[in-house]
Subunit: 230 residues, 2 copies
DNA sequence: TTAATTTTGTGTTGTTTTTACACAAATTAA
DNA sequence: TTAATTTGTGTAAAAACAACACAAAATTAA
């Protein structure tokens, strides 16, 4: 039998979006050397537990949330001293969530759970800032070739919400008319007949929904979601 | 201390290309239950060894090769019974190589090492066919947005070599003129003054090289390599 | 030696996609 | 009722893409 003394953990970079700012979820450690430090939600996996199950479990336990979108990001195992106690290799997952859908509640291991503005993230424990950075890049690039923005929004949204999401996450200006034209041309966003006024003033707007079924259909026909514009 | 009894391995999907066919490297196991079975090169990591070092070491040991391009692909750890002896989580790496640059030689753990045509890959041990499949997808998509094709070719190559590489890996026809025009427009491929005839007959062609320095420069100026055409 | 074959090299034109851009309509606040 | 805010919409110029054919340099076969 192989002699190997390494532990395996999972960590999650959970992004939430609200009114033009992108947030990432962190939890405050209750125990151990890093007690009180903010870190990404995560923890060791069980012997008979699939990695992805471990992530879901930890998110439930530590913050009480269920995600809209979850995918493996990368495995951090080159820095042998990531954790000073013993060697830990961590498989990082990338998740999207609509923060409105629940109230965070710290639970088992975590003293507290909180959304941090990604632009003003404090120093986290371990190599977690690095993980956030990588996840942030992934989010940005994925936004352009996969319709994952919808996982950050309400089921029904204004076109301006979608537009602002793209603007703020990609950090660039978008031509409103061209953006709308392009998105609508895909045929994966449906106009509802509801009209609402949300902000203080201004003309009320129609609500839209993302038609996931249609998107999945199109995928089979070799459709490529792609949004890159001036 | 956490009680966890899981082992960590790395595996490599090494692609090589030659004359219109894409190959993947496999090794024949010498020991254990899967003795004689073909599997991807890989193995357990050492306690104090970075993941990437482990891959490089295994490739050296098992097949005697050094790669041109290496990146982490994904971690396989959802199937708890991947390995029937005990739980093994494997971090898979994706590598590109020019097969001409060395002769394969099996060494420590491997009885033999061989290039297999990706289109006619036998059943490999563990979940390695799955890994190859994922890596193959990655190669295909990456080819369109990163200039990694050059890592599969000689330092100096004919334009037709590059074109054939794209054709055969992406499995579609390419308009020779449009392809050349586009690639040259990037300015990352330089024409040498050497002219060679390679195949049996036909007009000799000029040799070209990939200008990596120029590419890295362009990257800083927000250049996006991108090749998708009829 | 000539003709047939193979491979490299090159430009133009029509079509599609992308970009840039401005004003009216519906509402709230002053 | 006027100003301010936000939604909604079309067009024209520019750029990118797609489709396409023939001459030049070599080898092979007749």
């Amino acid at each position: 039998m192989i002699d190997q003394n390494i532990k395996i953990a999972v960590d999650a970079i959970v992004f939430g979006y609200e009114k033009g700012t992108l947030y990432v979820l962190a939890v405050q450690q209750r125990f151990g050397k890093l007690a009180d430090r903010w870190v990404l939600p995560g923890g060791f996996i069980l012997d008979d537990e699939p990695l992805i199950t471990a992530v879901e479990r930890e998110l439930k336990e530590e913050a009480g949330i269920t995600v809209n979108y979850l995918e493996q990001l990368a495995t951090f195992g080159d820095n042998v001293k990531r954790d000073e106690r013993f060697r830990v290799i961590s498989v990082a997952y990338f998740a999207l969530v609509n923060p409105k859908n629940f109230v965070l509640k710290a639970d088992t291991d975590a003293k507290d759970a909180k959304w941090f503005d990604v632009a003003q993230l404090p120093v986290l424990g371990y190599d977690h800032n690095e993980m956030v950075k990588l996840a942030h890049q992934r989010l940005k690039s994925k936004l352009t070739y996969q319709p994952i923005g919808f996982d950050l929004l309400d089921h029904e949204f204004l076109f301006s919400d979608l537009e602002n999401l793209y603007c703020s996450i990609l950090e660039r200006d978008i031509d409103r008319r061209n953006f709308r034209k392009k998105i609508l041309s895909f045929g994966i966003v449906t106009e509802t007949d509801k009209v609402v006024k949300i902000g203080a003033s201004g003309r009320p707007g129609k609500l839209f929904t993302f038609d996931k079924l249609k998107y999945n259909q199109l995928l089979k026909e070799n459709f490529q979601f792609d949004i890159r514009f001036a």
